[in-house]
Each structure stands twice: as structure tokens, then as C-alpha cells.
Symmetry: D3
Subunit: 280 residues, 6 copies
Amino acid sequence: MTELDFRTLDLLISLAVQEDLGFSDITTRAVVEPSLQARGEFVAKQDFTLAGWPVVERVFQTISTAIQVESWKRDGDAIAKGTVFGTADGPAVYLLSSERVALNFLQRLSGIATLTRKFVEAVSGTGAVILDTRKTTPGLRAIEKYAVRMGGGRNHRFGLSDGVLIKENHITAAGGISEAIRRARSGVDHLKKIEIEVATLEELGQSLDAGADAILLDNMSPSQVTEAVRQTGGRVPLEASGGIHLGNVREYALTGVNFISVGALTHSFPSADISLELKL
Amino acid sequence: MTELDFRTLDLLISLAVQEDLGFSDITTRAVVEPSLQARGEFVAKQDFTLAGWPVVERVFQTISTAIQVESWKRDGDAIAKGTVFGTADGPAVYLLSSERVALNFLQRLSGIATLTRKFVEAVSGTGAVILDTRKTTPGLRAIEKYAVRMGGGRNHRFGLSDGVLIKENHITAAGGISEAIRRARSGVDHLKKIEIEVATLEELGQSLDAGADAILLDNMSPSQVTEAVRQTGGRVPLEASGGIHLGNVREYALTGVNFISVGALTHSFPSADISLELKL
Amino acid sequence: MTELDFRTLDLLISLAVQEDLGFSDITTRAVVEPSLQARGEFVAKQDFTLAGWPVVERVFQTISTAIQVESWKRDGDAIAKGTVFGTADGPAVYLLSSERVALNFLQRLSGIATLTRKFVEAVSGTGAVILDTRKTTPGLRAIEKYAVRMGGGRNHRFGLSDGVLIKENHITAAGGISEAIRRARSGVDHLKKIEIEVATLEELGQSLDAGADAILLDNMSPSQVTEAVRQTGGRVPLEASGGIHLGNVREYALTGVNFISVGALTHSFPSADISLELKL
Amino acid sequence: MTELDFRTLDLLISLAVQEDLGFSDITTRAVVEPSLQARGEFVAKQDFTLAGWPVVERVFQTISTAIQVESWKRDGDAIAKGTVFGTADGPAVYLLSSERVALNFLQRLSGIATLTRKFVEAVSGTGAVILDTRKTTPGLRAIEKYAVRMGGGRNHRFGLSDGVLIKENHITAAGGISEAIRRARSGVDHLKKIEIEVATLEELGQSLDAGADAILLDNMSPSQVTEAVRQTGGRVPLEASGGIHLGNVREYALTGVNFISVGALTHSFPSADISLELKL
Amino acid sequence: MTELDFRTLDLLISLAVQEDLGFSDITTRAVVEPSLQARGEFVAKQDFTLAGWPVVERVFQTISTAIQVESWKRDGDAIAKGTVFGTADGPAVYLLSSERVALNFLQRLSGIATLTRKFVEAVSGTGAVILDTRKTTPGLRAIEKYAVRMGGGRNHRFGLSDGVLIKENHITAAGGISEAIRRARSGVDHLKKIEIEVATLEELGQSLDAGADAILLDNMSPSQVTEAVRQTGGRVPLEASGGIHLGNVREYALTGVNFISVGALTHSFPSADISLELKL
Amino acid sequence: MTELDFRTLDLLISLAVQEDLGFSDITTRAVVEPSLQARGEFVAKQDFTLAGWPVVERVFQTISTAIQVESWKRDGDAIAKGTVFGTADGPAVYLLSSERVALNFLQRLSGIATLTRKFVEAVSGTGAVILDTRKTTPGLRAIEKYAVRMGGGRNHRFGLSDGVLIKENHITAAGGISEAIRRARSGVDHLKKIEIEVATLEELGQSLDAGADAILLDNMSPSQVTEAVRQTGGRVPLEASGGIHLGNVREYALTGVNFISVGALTHSFPSADISLELKL
């Protein structure tokens, strides 16, 4: 079930509306007749994967309940350049005042879905799963992880409270891999698996010996990952991360690694080019 | 005065901390001794322009007042790859729990400043000023516009309430350029100038006749912009926008246009690559 | 378009309801049958200009959705003493618990509109426009400025972020009129005009020379204002402010000054006398 | 103990700062050097009774902790026209950005205290006590009732939850005075007294018979109040309310009535005239 | 009128939903088809007095408006073990995600009502009234006091602002009983009665002499209370408190004391045993 | 690391202070000199395990920074009846106004810790671990789970987002044990273990076959649990739950089950008896 959670979203929308509208949209209020009805058409200015349409609906709803929003596409659908994929009908003043906030959400989320889709297609047939990371925009994690799912990716843990991932800095602080795993095992509740990040094959071996439930291979080359997969022999799932881009992701996927996590999905995506055009 | 406004920032930090930490950082609490003191070093993994250091300070402060943060660089400074440009000292547990939130802010803001700096350098010597737009991340506008300033760009209006910009959709709704300008002039207070967006030289002429105070040239080619500059003859400032990237921005700047606004500064920037490394 | 913005209003209503109702309206709960239906009639106890009816609707809605509110008058209308101008129907308990909060809003906003209307009528035919100021009640600016519009006045800038007004203290800090104007011109975006406050005709001259876009004449006598108008010759709009009351406002208006701003509209207005009378 | 409660005040200050500053004080940021230190002097432009100084301190503190505020007067003190009664030292940019918010609080609260003091002095020697009402500005009740105390008045109940006052509408709903009092007696906890509002001497008699603990005489003339006092014979405290102003309050006080409540103290007071002048 | 106040409740529900659901109910989202409709039946696993059904409705509403909740019992009703007393129909995913939050409210409030009912029945026929105290769960006072009413008890004052109760620590601070009562009389508004807490018959006498309006007998034995009732002779109401449990409450009630307040009603109640069972 | 998280706590404290103090502690303000300094002593009126002292500190801090709080005991310590275990020094007015809120937190949290300690001691030497559940007070989960840790218990998952527990209702919805486990395995991220609730030994067998990572034995008798332990043979951890109390918990523990979860720890604990006594 991929449904979007609206609880934190509403606060975010209200922040966005507040920062864009301030006390009033002075241009629209001065220039446009309050009684004028209009239709806004959402137009794709490039090929992209749609994500964020329910947010668009909610943004318009927040500004005015007099606006009716409709789309014949659903989040996750591919949209071709030039397509009109949705409409918003209602008082022109509210359409104009809502436009930028709605597009700022939609273009970002669709940008994430579009980039994710490219990674997912690049590894198709290999069995490797594309994961996101915690490198998300402050305050937007829930909707950005939703956009990753819309692009066909899967989500890693949501945050620090719902999954154990022992990273290099934790190992440093604990004084070694086996001690870190031992402490994690005894310190968290019995429903959590223990994943650990390793940078070398030697550390991989130590982690397997110490009983890690999953292992993240950090910044390894495809050939190192291949060797790690061989050495692990399917005992625990392996995740590759670091330095992976569209140009080399298939090479990583072909090593047999289970997961490939890509920070760029949420920290360096280009926004999708979408516009809203008013018809009277 | 380029100081960062902390009022909305604190809400954003608390959202970011809430989404990342949830009820607790379970890995760190299990693995790291509460009494362990450490130093975290901020390391540049690429060349970039720093922006967001005061946010980093505030993030750590929010998590724990026991952390001391220090940098010998200031926002706006260029940082070379490999440089350690700041430190955070305090209990290792808090350093580890704060790391990702702090970096998520810093990498994004520095990414924006770095991209802005490239545009500013590309037009150096031409007199053209690089501006941002309202295409910012929902909720983060104030800090993203701050990052643009740190990169040497200037800010366009903050939002819909503090400046008049009549766009194509407004003209459609008002029934024409001169009527739109007339309504704006009589409908907003006497402290606002009237800028209007035009797509052709004919519309430019109409706007000048109708008494616009500033004109945005939308999606014009450099040669069209050159002609617009000639036709305007310095009567009002001109702003070019749409389809401008690092590859053609200097060509636009050389037309003599006063302002060049670039949405990509805030909607499609790559995050700067920065890491925090723990030392015991 | 004079519509009231409900975004901050809802917080204000919830503060008002919280401070008045606390945990419960103990008198009403003890004395009135929950099932009793009643009508409350809004009665004008003096002549006044209506402002704040949409707020009244929203207050009742906040307390209970079972109340139906109706008025055949609209904000901006003149109401004669003795008129019943609106009704609220529903459970008597909720009518009684909402009464004071609703009236506290309505009496204040109508008081502002009524006073504004008097100033507007006093200058009728002169071409002078009555403006409000930033001397509004903390937290109530948006609705108080709305009430000024309902009384026929116009709004000056909303706050410090949407308009430039260089005041005496700024001139002191900048070291002089021309330096202050020069800094403002280069430090704010290209959509803002520069207004400056002057106390003498000499300062007026300096401001005109320095290129101010509008000038506020502070605490000048009508004859000084007349001279200022003559000296300015229509180059920029002039605003008179300070020491202006109903007794002398027409004299100021007859000088030919463009705007007259009056702090008393929002800082020293008497509330309109309105009551709610229950009918069973 | 007359101390001001800061709990709701902080929300109010943040609303006031938000509405006035928006995203930034653009004039001050453009015109004033960030490093410039200055002193602001609070100057009385009329005789008044001070109220709200602790709010002023808190407003400046909210904007910047770099500002030091000091006064040699205390809330409740009389201030003579022309007096400098307080100072604020710190960065000029913050002084200028805080000025209007601070004054908007101070001028209103001092206006209330000043008007209250006039009523208190008008009844001096009579034994009558001046009370406020619930006719306060939405959201500002706590600080407005504080200002009444600073002017020498006393507070009636805070709101609907902490005291029982049966008003005309309640009597209508309950079907009569004695039934209303009976229900109140059995429906509220044993720590509350029952006050009832009456409009005639006959109703006064019924209320006394029904065992009211206190009686509000609504809109009675001084001679009616005199007769009510005689008829009551000290059995319960009497409160006069409605149509009482500075011109007739002493006449009411001389009737021997115990309390006189005056809505105008908080709904129709003129703000005190106070300015902040910058010294370099 | 015993209606529940929903104003603070909504915040509490949102806290409860946030802490239980976090970013998502991961089990339900993975295991249950989004399209699956189901019915949940509320089943009594013990005899109890119902309280909190409106809260249950509101919890489900908060999670999803697609759920229909119905009960043929009302708060205050006795429910026998084994009874199905309510249903919730809608998407199974939402029923499952809401279950624990709804039950956590319902079991606690019904636990309080059930315990209160036992005390009320224990004193039936004696004329003594069972009261609650301020020993409520932080943040839940309004709904816990509501549950007491549903169990047939009555409420003491809501909090510190709506009733005067001079306790032992206050007497210590004031320097004696008569001074404390004198100060209270002159320091609070004229609508409040003065109750005082005494530990001995001597203090009772002093309090009566000083004019207390009500007296709380703290930690006295039934025979001491009997003597206190005799000595007071009906002049003021008496309240017994401290060390009173189901085993001795009738003995206290038979002394003729007017009120018996029991902290355990809200600080040491067992939750009622209630479950929600899913039917497809 | 057992530290208390203060993020949600502060909101809870502010709710508690708001509901108890309302606009003012009228008794204390009237009766106690503002300048009076006092010491409050925290006295144990029964044997108990301390939990919540940091909350007490924070409550006093919230009311007034002029209060100094100190204890020579730490959360988790046993306190004997009659002991003075902490002090609060400062203005008597603030001590009195804070007392009830502070005690309401402290008595509840210490009550939970005290009850937990009894369960932990009852199973000592058996290897069984006492766990809490999600049956916590709405809004207080984080601090109640903290109190469980202070009593020597361990925490089960925090909420629905950080652990997978397939309950009876989920199995019903999924159509069977193996399908439910299969869906959970494929639908949650790779860092989560899958626990399932079973009511019979047959279901236990199915769950083991389907690859559950942990199994909750619901409402089984000790002899059934013994058989379940035998049948499981250590392959996965087992948790007993339902119908377990102090009288039978050791019997359950001796079966060899790994975890025993007890809802009563947080849903039916008696508050600890603690008082604050004022010394001048």
C-alpha cells in the first residue's frame, strides 16, 4: 500500500502557502476579477513519471474549497511531453494564487520519481532492488520517500528509530565491529535486525562472524562487490552504496548484490518541467 | 545585511529532527557509551561554496546544548575538496544523532550557493545580475534564498505579497496588457512597482506604452533579448528568464539585459558532497 | 477584492475562545437546558459601519456547527441605530457561550470601519486618500486593515517586508537622506519604490534630489503641506501624517496632498455598540 | 501579586512579530549598517500611566538577545509628558525592526492603565471599586486585565469558566430568576458564588429572595442604584454596570454601590502617545 | 450538561496517533489489502461503566473519515461482560491502525467511570457526594473529570484558576489560618468562595471563626469527621479527604459530611478490559 | 542509555500547566507574599522506585527559573517510606503553583517503575525478560516506557512504525498465518524481524514453518507455554502475554519463555504516594 500520509503534509503545505502568499497575493487581487471562473491545465513540458498529484489536490483545497481538481493519470504513471494530464477549475484568483505552491510540490516529487524510474529501469532483470536513503530534504522525508515508491524504488528505513544501521562512526565509537554488533544485539528490542556498514572485505568477514543480519558495502568497486557477494554466499542480504550513478548502476546490479541505495534520488534530482496554463 | 532569519527555521529543524530521530536513535543508544566524548570533522568531498553553517550550529544546539560547534570559514567562502572546514565537539551519542539532519541542511544550501556562484562567475564583467525565483522547496524558501545570496546572486521578490509581477495567466485573466497594468496601478499600494512578463517584442512595446516599471522577457532567444534592450532604451529595467543555463547565460548577459533569473538555482541543484567524520 | 484572509484569523479565534471559555462556560452549562433552541438577534445600539460579519460566522462555527448565522447586511454597509441586522439560530447553550467572543471581534472591527468612514467622508471630493498605518493591535493587523477597507479607507504597506519607508531613525542611522535613499535603492529588489519621511521643506528638497519615489510629510501644518505640494509639483506622491484628526483632516486634504495616513483608525477607535438578544 | 503571565503572551508576540516583520525588515536591512550600535529612548508624548514594560523587554528579547532594555520606572507609575522613561541599547538594525511591535503593545496597555487610573481617581474616597469586564481584545485578555490592575482597577472574573454570572439571556433561557439561580446553585461546584444581572428593582427583590450571592445592576440610573442599595441593605455586594463614563462615575460611586464595572476600559481606550527615538 | 469538550482532546488524539503510528503502521500496510472492508466489534471482557465513546468516534475520524462507528450504549451506561456494545465499519487497514489508540482512551476512561460508580454506590442513600481531585493524568484532566461524571461522581474545581482552596502549605506561608482567609477574601474577585483545608478540630474552629465558606477535613478518622460535622452545625459545607477507599467510604459518608473527595478515582484506577475483534 | 527524551515532554508539561494553572493560581496569588522564599521537601509516603525526577526539574523550570531543584537519589533508585528524597527552593508562590503538576507526573511514573520492579523481582533468576506493551496513556508513551526501564523492565517496540507484530486481526485479514508472514516479509524493509501472535500450539507450528522470526503466545496457560517452548526448541524467541499478573508471572517465567509482556505495567498501576511539604 503506497498511500501518502497526510499528517505532516498539511503542516508543510501551510508553511509553503504562508511563505508564498504572505498576507495576500497582491498582483492577483488587483488584476483579476473575483468572479472570473477559469480552467487551469497541467501540461508536461518533458517526459516524466508523475508523483504528487494528491498533494496538488490538497494544496488547492487548502487555498479554496471552490476549486475542483481532476486528473486521468495516477501517481506512478509515465507522462509524455506535451500531454495535458490534469485540470483545476474554479475562481481564477484562487487558481493563480495556488499555482506556484502546487507546482513546487509536483515538480520536485515528479523529479524524484522520474530519476528513480531511470535507476530501476537500468537494473531491470538483475534482481537488484533500488533503495533510497535518509539524504532527504528536511521536513519532506515522508513525501520524498513516497515519490521514490512511485518511481518503482523501495524505501530503506524511515529514520533512526525504526531500523539499526551501524555506520563507520558507530564502529569507531564502539571500538570495533564485533563489539558494536554485540551491543546492538543486546540493546535494541527483539524485532530489529542489525545491519552494519563495511568498507573492506576484511570487515565484511568480521561482520559475518559477528552475526550481522545485513551488510552495507560502502564505496566498493563492482569487482569488490562481486567478491563480497561470493564471500557472503547468500547468508545475509548485501547492500551496495556510494559512488553509484546511472552510468554504473547496472554493473553493480550484475554483481548479484541484493540492494543498491542511491542518495541522489532525493538529494540531487532535477525537478520535472511542468506548467499550469489558464484557459478562460 | 545577509543574515539568516531563524524564525521559520526552528520549525523546520524540529520537523527534520522529528522525522529523522522519531522516538529515539536506537542504533546510537545501543552501541555508543553515553559518556564518550568525540570530535566530528566536517570534510569537503568536492570544491564548493559554503552556505548553511549557522543552520548546522542550530541543529546541534537543538539536539544537545552539550555540543560545541566551530568553523573558521564563513557562509559564502569557497572551500576546496579535502578541506576540514569545521568541527563539532561533545558527547558522541549526540554527534551521531545530529549528523544526518545537519548534513541534509548543509549539503542542500551549499549546493545552491555553489550553483549560484557558477552562474555569477559566468556573467562576470557584464553588469547582468543573477536572480532567483519562487521555484523553491516548500517550506525552505527563506533559507534557500539566503543560500542564493551566499553564492553571490540577488533575490527577486520573496513571495506574492511583496512585489507585483503580472504573468501571462494574469494578462489572460485581465483581458490584455494595458488593462492588467492599469488595474495593478490602481489596486496596489503606492510603494510597489509594476513588473510584467512578455513573450514578444510587440508585447514589450505595449507594456512600455502602458507604463510598466519593469519587464520580464520570457523564453526569448539572446537575439530577441538584444532587440528588446535596444527597443527599451533604458527606460525600465529588463529581466530575462526561461531556458537559461550555464551554457548560454553569458550570451544572455552580453545583450545588456539588467537581470537574469534562473529557477534551476533552487529547483534542480546538486547537493554538495560533505561528510562528518568522527575522531575519538 | 476585499476578502478577509482566514489563515491567521483561525488561530486568533481559537485564542479568544480559549481565554473566554477556559475549560467550560459553567453558568450556561448549569442554567440552560442542552436541548433548548433559540434565536439570537444582533441589534445596533448606535449608527455604525459594519465590519467583521464573516468573523462572527466563523466564531460560531468554531464553537458549534449546529448554529446557523445569517445577515442581510454586508461588511461596509451602514447600519442605523435600533436595526436588527443579523441572526444566529441554534442551541441556546452554544449561542450564549459564543456571544462575547463574537461581539468582541464585531464591535472592534465595526468601530474601526465606523471611524474610517468618518475620515473618508470628511475628505470627500478632495481627491485625498485616507490610509491606515502599522499602529495596529498585536496579532490583529490583517483583520484591522480589512476593517479600514470596509470603512472606505485604503491600506498602506502591510508590514516591514513589503514596502520601503525610510523613517527619521533610519536617516539618523544612515547618516543622511541621500545616503539612506542610495542604500535603499541598491539594497532592495527592483520591484520596490522608495518612500522617505521628512520633517521640513529642506529635507523634502533633499529627498526629491536624491530620487525618492514617494515622500511622507511628518507632523507638518496644513500650510507647510501646501508649500510642500507646490514645491514637489507632482513629481512624486506625497503623504501627510501626524497630528491629523477629524477636526483638521479636511484642511489637510484641501492642500492637494495625495495620501493622509491616520494611526488613530486602529489605535484609538471606540468600539461600536452592538448587542446580541436571545429570543426563545 | 500583579505579575504578568508570560505563557500566552509569547504566542501573541510571535504573531505580532510575524505580521510586522514578515520575511524581513527590508528597509532597515538595506539602509542600516549591521555593525552600528545605537540607543533608543522611550519618550512620553503625553502624561500617562505606564503598563507593559515587561512586554517591551520580551519583544526585544524575541527579536534579538543582543539588545539591553532598561527602565527606571515600573508598571503602574505615572509618567509626565516629555520624560525619557526607558532605553534600549544594541544593534540599530534590531532596535529599528522591533520598535513598532514594542510600541504597539506598550501604547495600548498604557492607554488602558491611563484610562483606568482616571476612573479610579474619579471615585476616590467613595469605597467603590472599579472593575473591568470581558469586553477585551480577542487574544489579549490576560495582558489587558493586567493593565487594568496597573491603573488601580480590579479584575472581574477572567472568563466563563471561573465565575458564575447569570445574565439577561440566561434568565430568558431558564424561564425566570429563581429557576436560574436554583439551577446554578445545584449545577456548579461548591466553590462558586452566584451573581445575577437585574434590570429593575423588582428583579432585584426576586434575586435576593432566591438567594443570589451578588447582584449586577444593569443600566440603572444613579437614583435607581441608590434605591437598590437601600433595598439590599448590605446583604450581598452590588455591582453597577452600563452607561457609566468619566462624567457620571462619581455619581454612581456615591450611591454606596460596591463595584462599578466599565467595559470602555478595554474596548474604547485611546492608546498612549509614546515614541522611540534613536541616538547614535 | 455533561458534554465532553473537544478542544484540547484533538491535540491529545493527535499526540496519541503520532506516538503510535509514527510514519506508518508497517505491519498493517504490508499484510492487509487496502481494499478489504471489515467490521470491528467492541467486546466487554468484564462488567464496566462506559465512558469515552465520543473519543473513540473522534479517534477513528482522525485516522480516516471512511470509518463508520456506532454504539447502542451511551457514556454512563453499565455494560455486562461478554456484550458487544459497539461497532466500527470500514477499510480493515484503518480499523487496525486505529485500534490501540481508540482502546487506550476507552479503557482508561471507562476504568475511571467504573471505579467512580463503585464509590457512588457505596455511599448511596447517605447524601454524601463523591468528588474527584486535581490528581489527574497530565494533559487528560478534562476527559478524566468527564469520566468521573459518567460514573456518577461530581467534579471539584477544575484547576487553580477557578476555585480557592487554602491548603496546609498556604497556611504555613501565610502564617496562620485567619490571616490566610483574610488575604484570600480581599485578594480574589467577589465571585469566589473560600475553602480551607484543616487537619484538626481546633483548626476547624479557627476556620469557622475566620469566616471560611467551606472546609476540607484532611486525613481525619470517621469519628473525627463526625465530631467536625457536629461542631460545624451546617454553617458551611464540609469535605472529607485522605485515606478514603472503598472499604471505609460508607463509614465516612454516614458521618453526615457533605462531600468526599477521592484522588484514586483518577490516579490509581485499573483500566477496563475491552477488546476490538475484527469480522470480515 | 536510558535518558529521557524531552521533545514531546515539553508539550505535555505545557498542557498540564495550562490545564492546572489556567490564567492564574488565584489562591496562591492572594494568600502568599511574592517575596517569601521557601523550601519544599519531597517525602515518600510509601516504599517505591523513583522515576520522573528529571520531569519534576523541568516542570519547575517551566513555571519559574527562580526555583532550584535537587535530589540525592536517581531514577531507578528504591526509596523507603518516610524518606525526604529531594528539595525545591525558591519563591513560595512558584513552589505552590507547581506542586500538583510536578507530583502528578512523579507519582504516575514512580508508580509504573514500582510495579515493574515487582514483576522483575518476581522472575529474578529465570532468564525471562519483563516487557511493556503499547497499552500506554495517550500522549505519555515515551515517559511511561522510560519509567518501565527505570523499574528494570525492557521495552517492546515503541509503536506501529518500528516493529512488525502480526496480531490475530491481521491474520484474519490476510486469510491465514503463512500468507500474513509472506506478505510481511515482502512488504517491509530488510531491517525488520517478523513477530506473530498465536493462540494455539498448532498456530505456533504453522508460524515456525512459515519462517516467523519471533512468536507471541497469547493467553496460553503456563503448561501450554512449556509445551510451546519445547516445540520451538530455541529456533526463535518466544513471548508470553495475556492474563499474567504478579501471582503467576514466576510460573510463566519458569517455562523458559524468553519474554513476558505485561499491559498492566502502564494501564493499571497505582500511583506512588509522594507529597511535597513546605518549610519556611
